[in-house]
Every structure is written in structure tokens, then in C-alpha cells.
Amino acid sequence: MKFVNEASTLIKDNIRDYGMYIALFVIMLTFNILTDGLFMSSRNISNLFDSAGYIAVLAVGMTLVIVIRHIDLSVGYVAGFLGAIAAILLMHYGIPVYVVIPMILLFGIAIGSLNGFLIAQLGIPAFVASLAGMLIFRGALLQVTEGTGTIIIQNNTFNALGNGFIPSIAKVNDLHLLSLIVGLLGIAIYIYSEIKTRRDKQKYNFDVVSPSIFMLKLVFVSAIIGYVTWVLAGYNGFSWTMMIVLAVVMIYHFITTKTVLGRQIYAVGSNPEAAHLSGINVKKVTYIVMASMSMLAALSGILYTARLQSATTTAGMLFELDAIAAAYVGGVSSAGGVGKVTGAIIGAVVMASLTNGMNLLGVGISYQYMIRGGVLAGAVIFDVLTRKKGK
């Protein structure tokens, strides 16, 4: 009885954090039942994660942009444009892929710094500055693809970023060995970090959940990681896209939760004036966040171009809105100062699951847009209502 009580207060107190996990769980379960298990099949899950990748990296960057109370509408066409540049550098100039990728990321940083200059230095509203960027890069994309039209990329290394899988080393019972190892490693790291946090908290006599709840949480999360790994290992294992997204999430999660820079970002977001009076360089933080956003847009462009194995004239269209939607579903608040990188990823997966599941069910595209819009509105309404209750 005590156990149930604790669990229910825990969920009530953290409903905002847990809400999207529960939503994702419900969505996945529903689709799985409606499609007779097709949704959770190895092949589909693998495909779903890959298709979410290029939006997920954008959502991570967008979360931080929204945390500091700005917005970036230019990311879609920056991704499209830089993807096209990558294709041109690879195919027309024959520059090796190991040089092209860092170059493209640097271009992204340069574009983001320009956004930062407009917003932080000149004080132009981010909405307007990035709207201008959106138009400019849309034009730039058309310009560079004008002569050739779609540019086909014949570079297996590059294309593998969007389509390839990590090598398996060996097959165990027809399962992808390296993926299993990665999954187990993930579980081990998760359990280790949870136990360490708990120990630290106990050391300072902070409240911790009871051992039974703690065990349940460990088992539950481990089971989910294990299950996803097992499902994926039954097909081709982890894709390179997934590994890249995981790396981005881990790096950004670390930066936002463990570093001075991360603290400064949330400080600027929750009260820019107080941040300034605390000696935090608000302009510098704005520069860094905007530059990081466009760098991730460059990465998104690489992933998308690699996935299509070509640069097209319409690449990047509406990516920015998908990314913003994912960030909001993931719990970011437009009032600033609130929003997690991990939430952004969940948000991206929720939105990708909706598209994927509805495609499997053969739902018409018109309904798909309406349903996704409804989910976005619902997520924000939920956020606003739970916030009010918090007060």
C-alpha cells in the first residue's frame, strides 16, 4: 500500500517530466495493437528512428534556443543548403568525405554566429532575423542546385550516415552482436549513474525514493533499453544515424547539466536581467546557442542528404516547424529557462511515431497533419496546466 502511495505521489509530482514518456508509450502501444504488431517490428522501428534522426538533432538545438527565449526559423533551409553544398563538394570537387563533413559543420557555425550577431549584438528579434535567414537560404539552395537540379551522391561512406548500420562483428542466434553490446553497455551506464546519483543524494541526506521504487525504475528503464536493442538487433542493428543522434544527445545532455555553460544558458533563460546582474555574459551565451543551433542544422542537412543519397531543391522544407514542434512536445517552455535535451529527443520520436504509425494505417495526409497539430496543441496545453498547478 505504501508502495502504491509513493508511486502515485511520485507520478503526480513529476507529471510534467513523465507526461511525454507516458504519451510516447501510449502512442506506440496503440499503433502496435492497431497494426497487429507491425509497428514494433524490427524493420519498422529501425526505419522510424532513422527517419526521426535529422529532426531530432534540430530539436536538441532548438530546445536550447527556446530556453533562452529565442527562436530560429532558418534551420530548415540552412540544413537543405548545407546538404547541397556537401553534395557539390563531394561530387563536383571530389573533396574527401572526411574533409567535407567538418567543413560543413564549420559553415553551420559561421551561419549561426551571424544569427547571433543580429540577435545579440544588434538586438533584432530572433523571429525576424531567422525569418530573413530562412528566405535567404531557401534562395541559396535554389541557386546552387539550379544548374544541376537534384545532385546524386555516389559516395558510400557519406550515404552510410543516413542509411548504413554499424558492423555486426558476428551474429549470435541471428542477432546483431555489436548492437547487443552497445545496448548492454547503455544499460550498464544507466544503472551505474542512477546508483551514483542516489548515493550522492543520500550522502547529503536528501530525499530519495524508497528502494522498491528505485529498483522498479531501474528494471523498467533497463527493460525498455533492452527491448529496443533486442528488436533492432533482430534486423540490421543500430544505424549510424542512431549512433550520431545518441552522441549528440549525450554531449548536449552533459553540457546542459554538468557544465558552467549549461548553467549560464538556463540562467539567461529563466531571468536574463538577473543573469546579467550575476556577471553572466548574456550576449556570449546567445552567440553560442545560436551557433550551436546552426551547427546542428548542418548536421541535420548531412543526415538528410545522406538518407536520400542526393541533394534536392526542396530539401529542408518545414524542418524548422517539425523541430519546434518536437521541442514543445518535449516539454520546453516559451517562457524560457525550462526544457531538457532528453525531452527534445522524446518529442522528436513522438512526432515521428505519429507519422510512421499513421502511414502504416493508411491514414490520409490531410488527417495526419490535423492529428499532429492536435498532439502539439495538447502537449502545450498539458504543459501550461501542469505549470499552473505547480504554482
Partner: protein, 506 residues
């Protein structure tokens, strides 16, 4: 028997936990200039808000009799319709609209629902003549100086057939010529039969212009002075303003151990380009090691601006003069530089720009010195917790744990978190802006005790405060500011309430 245009009987207004007004009586005769005087927080603004319907009928006790009838104003427009207009210190004009649009906004000149702009301009010109303002009515408000903007506000009030004009510190932001102009205008309006209530801190003006003056103190009417009876004298007014006994208790000061000059300002001026005027004017001031100096002054006297100009200049004032910190002349381009050099500033508005309310105590305490808990840019969580625990215990912050959100703490505990945040910076000069505003007596005492401990440790404190008792009880020396200038310096022995108030109302 004089004819009263306004009689406020036994007005009482409660806020949660505070009685802002208790049984206030205030009577204004038709056609007189009546000044309302009192310290910060005496209840002047609250009384005027009751009168104008900001606090609607039913939210206060007592009666408002206006033009012989008991009034029940439910909203501001009710009082406006009755001919009462308030002009606040922060003008309610639209800077990007023209003069004539501003005068007739909300009161448009219409023919069948369509605005007649030509008619509006003609009428606006008439109103501008009435206030002796010679500007083209098509000029934008933002292109006018503050003095002229003030006149536009009055013209706007006149356009609504105002009978009772209320001016809240009308000359606070004006230079001497503009002030003189305005006072002249008020006298002329009086001749036209308009009654005027003026809230003012400048007693010279009061004496020069007022027929009567009512003094409020701690939410109560103290007295009404009549110029005709020869009662209108600066000294008398001051005595009534401060008359309260200092019954707050201040902790005993430790053995004084005052050392060399830590901070010195020479001819220090700050010009605010946004306001278009100087907010600090040629201030000379010094602070010694182990000393608390008090900076007294009324609202708008430039105290906070002085503090900000020292603390890295976050408002981007144009600064003139010298700032000398521990013998070296300094120029801070950013608050971060001031913090590194050992200056800390605890803001007067802890919720607005002091704390991160949606973050916990831990993150707030470390926010001004993140490098102190980090190595190579990576935060050491354990170190951060240790620091937060240290300040929670040493400052007696009452919270369930250091993980509690600061927004959910009481005012006193929030102020302690603020203090902890700035102590962690390890400052040499600590500027406290209204350190005990809005907190209870117990927490006040604790903060005073902390201040004494700090100066024992060799810190130096600048305390800006509107509470005279606090200034007198805690300071070694007192500087009094008015109108951006330092009007005087008093040692702890010579300072008393009357002397401070005399300097502050110059």
C-alpha cells in the same frame, strides 16, 4: 464654511498582511492646491489609487465624498468620467504617436463612429494653448523632452474637463526650468477653477505653491497644514513626516575597526541615454574597510542608479569621473568585471532581477560565481551542494532542502538566498539595495546581524535604504541623495531623522 470638492472619510485599505491605510481623512477645498506629503511607503499612492478607482469600491473601507455625493468608483474610467485625472510619475503616453493622438486617445473626436482627425488637431491646439505648450501637435511624443511630455499629459486631462487634477511627483524627472514652468501652470489652472492635489518630495516647491498640505505617515493622517495660518514651513513638515519613534531594534555593533579607503568616487556622473538626462550628478563618496555607509534619499533620488553605475554599469550609462577601488582607478565594462574586482550588488527587486525563481537554492547561490564550483568548465555537483548547504546553515535559510525552488520561499528567505549568492563571490564591497524591504522583523534582525559579521570580517558595505530607522541604526556614515546629487554627508553621531529628511527634500 469652505466648500469641499473632495472629502475622504476614514479610509482603510488592507493588503494581505499589511494595513496600508488606516482611517485616513483627507479633505480638499474647491480651487486650492493641496499637497500630499510623506515618506516612501507612507500611503500617498495607495490613497490616490483608492480615489481614482484602481482599487474599486468595496476593496476599501470608508467613504469618498466628491462634489457633495458619496461616490462608488468601480474602475478608473468612473473617476475619469467624474472629472478626476491622475498624472503619474511614469507618464502614460504613447511615444510613437503624435501629440494630438495622445491627447485624444480613449476620448476620440468622432462623427458617427469615424474619427475626425482635422477636428482633433484643432481641439488639441486649444488644449496645448491652455497649458502654454507651443509645439506642433503633429510632433511625436518621443521627440519631446520630459517637461513637455508632462504638459501634454495635463492637456490630455484638460480635454476631459478635469475638475480635480492629481499630480504624482510631477517635478521629479524635470530640470529646474521645466519645474518652474510646471508650477506656474498649476497656479494658472487654479485661477481657472481647477483643484489640484500634488504629491511631492520637494518641500521647497510645496511651501512655494501649496495652499494646504496633508502629511501621511505609516498609513495615517498626521495633520493638515494651512498656508494662510502660517503653518507651512519646511521644518514643521519634516517633523511631522518623520515623527515616528525608532522602536526597531538593531543588533549591537561590534568593536569598530575601520581601515583604509576601499572605494572612492570622484565627481562621478552617470548619464542615461534612454531617459536623456543625468541620473547621478558629480557624486563624491568614499567607503572605508570595515565600514557601513548608508545612502538615504527618497524615491527617484538616484540611489539605485548610483549603485548600478558602480557595479559594472549594466544599464549602459555614459559615465564620467573616477572610480577608485583599493587605490586603482577602474573602469568596468560588464558586471562580470565588477564582480571579479570584488564588487557585489544585491538588488532591491529580488524577484524581478535578483533571483532565478524557477531554479532551486543550489543553482541560485552558485549563479554569480560558477567558476568557483567548476573545474575546466565542468561543474562539481558535490562542491556546489557543499557551498549551498554552507550558506543555508550560516544564513539560517528556512527551506525543506537546498533543492527547493526559490520562488516558493518567503521574502526573508529569498533575501537570504540573494545574500548567500553574493557572499559566495567573496566581495570586498557589498552594495545592499533596500536589504530589508518587504520582509518580517525577525528576518530583518538576522540580516542586520549578518551585516555586522561581515564588516567584522573586513568587508565594506554600502546600504541603500528608504527606512530611516535602518539607516540610522546600522550606518557609520550617511550620505543623503536627492535629484541625482549627494546633498550631504552625516556622521553617525550627527545624523538624525530630521537632518536626513531636510537634505532629502531639497
Amino acid at each position: 464654511m469652505a466648500e469641499y470638492i473632495l472629502e475622504m472619510h476614514d479610509i482603510t485599505k488592507q493588503f494581505p498582511g499589511v494595513k496600508a491605510l488606516s482611517d485616513v481623512n483627507f479633505k480638499v477645498e474647491k480651487g486650492e492646491i493641496h499637497c500630499l506629503i510623506g515618506e516612501n511607503g507612507a500611503g500617498k499612492s495607495t490613497l490616490m489609487k483608492v480615489l481614482s478607482g484602481v482599487y474599486p469600491y468595496g476593496e476599501y473601507e470608508g467613504d469618498i465624498v466628491y462634489e457633495g455625493k458619496v461616490q462608488q468608483f468601480n474602475k478608473i474610467s468612473d473617476s475619469v468620467d467624474a472629472g478626476i485625472a491622475i498624472i503619474y510619475q511614469e507618464l502614460a503616453l504613447f511615444p510613437d504617436l503624435s501629440v494630438y493622438e495622445n491627447i485624444y486617445i480613449g476620448n476620440e473626436v468622432k462623427n458617427g463612429g469615424v474619427i475626425n482627425w482635422n477636428q482633433t488637431i484643432v481641439k488639441a491646439k486649444k488644449m496645448l494653448n491652455k497649458v502654454n505648450l507651443k509645439v506642433n501637435p503633429e510632433v511625436l511624443i518621443k521627440d519631446l523632452g520630459v517637461g513637455k511630455q508632462q504638459l501634454v499629459e495635463i492637456a490630455k486631462a484638460l480635454s476631459k474637463n478635469v475638475k480635480l487634477l492629481i499630480l504624482d511627483e510631477p517635478t521629479a524627472a524635470l530640470n529646474e526650468d521645466d519645474s518652474e514652468n510646471l508650477l506656474q501652470l498649476i497656479k494658472e489652472l487654479k485661477k481657472q477653477g481647477i483643484t489640484c492635489i500634488m504629491i511631492s518630495h520637494k518641500l521647497k516647491e510645496v511651501v512655494a505653491i501649496a495652499d494646504k498640505a496633508t502629511v501621511l505617515r505609516d498609513g495615517q493622517t498626521i495633520c493638515t497644514l494651512d498656508a494662510k495660518k502660517g503653518e507651512m514651513e519646511e521644518r514643521t513638515i519634516i517633523k511631522h513626516m518623520v515623527g515616528r519613534e525608532i522602536n526597531d531594534i538593531y543588533p549591537k555593533r561590534p568593536e569598530k575597526n575601520i581601515g583604509d579607503k576601499v572605494l572612492e568616487l570622484r565627481h562621478w556622473s552617470a548619464y542615461d541615454p534612454q531617459l536623456g538626462r543625468s541620473v547621478v550628478k558629480k557624486a563624491d563618496l568614499h567607503l572605508r574597510k570595515g565600514e557601513i555607509i548608508g545612502i538615504a534619499g527618497l524615491m527617484g533620488s538616484g540611489r539605485t542608479e548610483l549603485a548600478l553605475s558602480i557595479f559594472g554599469n549594466p544599464k549602459n550609462y555614459k559615465l564620467y569621473g573616477e572610480l577608485i577601488l583599493e587605490g586603482d582607478q577602474k573602469k568596468f565594462n560588464h558586471t562580470g568585471e565588477a564582480i571579479k574586482a570584488g564588487v557585489a550588488y544585491v538588488t532591491e527587486d529580488r524577484k524581478g532581477n535578483g533571483l532565478f525563481l524557477i531554479q532551486n537554492i543550489t543553482n541560485n547561490v552558485s549563479a554569480a560565481k560558477l567558476t568557483g564550483i567548476a573545474k575546466n568548465g565542468v561543474i562539481n555537483d558535490n562542491e556546489e551542494i557543499r557551498v549551498a548547504e554552507h550558506y543555508k546553515n550560516s544564513l539560517h535559510i528556512k527551506a525543506s532542502s537546498i533543492e527547493q525552488l526559490v520562488g516558493k520561499l518567503s521574502g526573508g528567505n529569498q533575501q537570504k538566498v540573494s545574500l548567500g549568492k553574493w557572499l559566495f563571490v567573496g566581495p570586498k564591497v557589498l552594495i545592499l539595495d533596500e536589504p530589508t524591504r518587504g520582509i518580517d522583523v525577525g528576518a530583518k534582525f538576522e540580516i542586520y546581524t549578518v551585516m555586522n559579521t561581515l564588516i567584522e570580517q573586513g568587508l565594506s558595505i554600502i546600504m541603500i535604504s528608504s527606512e530611516l530607522g535602518e539607516v540610522l541604526g546600522m550606518s557609520d556614515r550617511v550620505y543623503v541623495m536627492a535629484d541625482g546629487k549627494i546633498k550631504g554627508e552625516l556622521s553617525a553621531d550627527e545624523a538624525d531623522q530630521e537632518k536626513i529628511m531636510e537634505l532629502a527634500t531639497q
